[in-house]
Symmetry: C2
Subunit: 429 residues, 2 copies
Amino acid sequence: MSIVEKELLRAREAAKAANMLTREQKDQALAVMGEHILRATDEILTANKKDLTRAQEAFETQARLDRLALDEQRILAMVQGLHAVIALDDPIGEVMASWTRPNGLLIEQVRVPFGVVGVIYEARPNVTVDTAALTLKTGNVVVLRGGKEAYETNAALTGALRRALEEVGLPSDLVMMVTDTDRRSVDALIRARGMVDLVIPRGGAGLIRHVVEHATVPVIETGVGNCHVYVDANAKLDMAVEITLNAKTQRPSVCNAAETLLIHEAIAQDFLPLIARRMIASGVELRLDEPSFFVLQNHSALSHNEERTLALLQRAVEEDYATEFLGLILAVKVVSSLDEAIDHIGRYGTGHSEAIVTEDLATAEEFLRRVDAAAVYHNASTRFTDGFEFGFGAEIGISTQKLHARGPMGLRELTSYKYRVRGTGQTRT
Amino acid sequence: MSIVEKELLRAREAAKAANMLTREQKDQALAVMGEHILRATDEILTANKKDLTRAQEAFETQARLDRLALDEQRILAMVQGLHAVIALDDPIGEVMASWTRPNGLLIEQVRVPFGVVGVIYEARPNVTVDTAALTLKTGNVVVLRGGKEAYETNAALTGALRRALEEVGLPSDLVMMVTDTDRRSVDALIRARGMVDLVIPRGGAGLIRHVVEHATVPVIETGVGNCHVYVDANAKLDMAVEITLNAKTQRPSVCNAAETLLIHEAIAQDFLPLIARRMIASGVELRLDEPSFFVLQNHSALSHNEERTLALLQRAVEEDYATEFLGLILAVKVVSSLDEAIDHIGRYGTGHSEAIVTEDLATAEEFLRRVDAAAVYHNASTRFTDGFEFGFGAEIGISTQKLHARGPMGLRELTSYKYRVRGTGQTRT
């Protein structure tokens, strides 16, 4: 039996207890977890330093080092996260529906935990604590498989969480960490049918593709977003500028940021200079189709003499429309109709978040109905696709599949249900 | 491009229309489908004869031939099935929840179709019509991949369905049939990421395992059931006899039939002779653990002289408890406690349907809470796990996984949702 298999057996055993926990038990454990993390601050920071040193020696990018690095403030934020989860209602045991059949059977649909949930993630160590909190609150046992580069940090964090569970008299195996850092341990986890009820990959497109293609346990695919803003012929141009700018630049590295701007040809002449000026001021490179390039190239309002402006006005190639830039690049395309915009989104979109800006309600409704994405917006930024912004109080990820959960996933999306049927001796005839 | 890929492209295109259909359009199409099936009765029966002849030549079992065979009555039943689906509410467009955020964003969670649903099934041709009706009503495009042995019949049925769609002015590609009967076409279907939103295998354990292990598109696993009846120390024995008998014998070939009987030791002496006599009268072979074998071997109420009785009293081996017999065999085990019963079910059960018979409410509640299965029963037969018995009016299968749907799946379980967000220019800060 491999290390991972042994760890999964322990997780399976702990799941029997997790299912039966009261809200009070779970909230108490979460509070004590916070205390143990604070108490272990030095230990966690020392572990984190080891990871950082190794990452520097491996010439990791500055962005990756930033994601990996912890300080006292980031540790405090993790503890605050635990308290935010304490404040949320416990979804387990909720009777979602109930009815009585003509034969007298009382059927109840009751919310239950999944059981054992595997979470596979990359650099950021706060995911360890966030995820453990959300899975504990939903009565699940979590099996954490973090990135190799954060191993020491994750081990220190998990150690603190497990000590807290022990202190409150719960099985420490409610929070499990895969201790085998070999890549094969990921495959062992995602192919453990009957042992793992659900796997959630949180990370880059490569990780998610690997998990989806090799898993035999159920998976929720998260987070790849090639999102669009479509500015309709009847848009308020100033609103369209603010929404597009927000969707692109407020946090360009995340999945709900916009990657392509579609503009109705009727307003392209007016709108393009407005949005281009603001994007250029924000350092956004525009990848323009021929019509939009033509408009901007000749527009007096843009200071074309400046080298910087010229460098930011590029011609788009087909591939740009299929790319999740996750940075300060925006593909731009002029379309002749709503149909063309919807077709473009259907072809290149990833079903994440799509927005229309228009004052025409009929056009807005058609867009909202026909565009096939987790979240469709009228006159708002795509950046709102987020568990906290939706008011869920938490987020384990954003699903881009249609099975089980779509869009932001909070506590409820970490649950399944079962049917509880009460009879008085009924048999089927 | 393979044949299947071309067919999936057509399905994808049709899905855009399917999403927008009104209830009236869908119900009209279903009614006209019924007319076309009746009109094509001769053609369908001729096709069925071809399949039957080939199956006989291939020395298929009588059970398989029975499942494959159509007659006018079975065709009529298919048409009645279409009308049953017409009577059901259209779930698409239902606003499942809606709320307004402090920033004024109105968020609605709206029920939408999956898009393209692949269904892979075996002999019974009525699945073709049932499935097409349920997927059409839920705004999905179905890609049917039936068994090779029913190819001619399924082609004739699909032809009638598609002609009906054309007659009412809808795209005939709303109902697609994979015309490539090679096994590789199954793999093409279950690995068509981005083209197929969901695959549902309906059939034997081998088919389901193949799909789950090789699919890269989301799957709902259906139908493997190793179900238990646990007769507690405080059970009414006559009720326990009726429930166990019903769960085992009312239709032994289906997934919600019981395969193992667990008996509390306190009542084993009294209960075993009662249930054994009835099971033996029904021709059920009992696979008994040592304690139950001992009780029955020496019991005067059973006529042990008869060879037939003796042949039906067998000793159980470990493997019997893990087996879905799907026939007139029942494994029997005496347990010393509720804990032991729950542990046994946890070890050998497939999470389908599990029943307790007891007059002790606290024991019943503990069983209902702790047993991890799609449906858990108190004082009722496991045979009720069924979309019609639950009152759903339809059934596409019984899910044994926890992701998305669990237990009987009706129309609602064939849908996903999306978030529709309406703003007035909101951007994220």
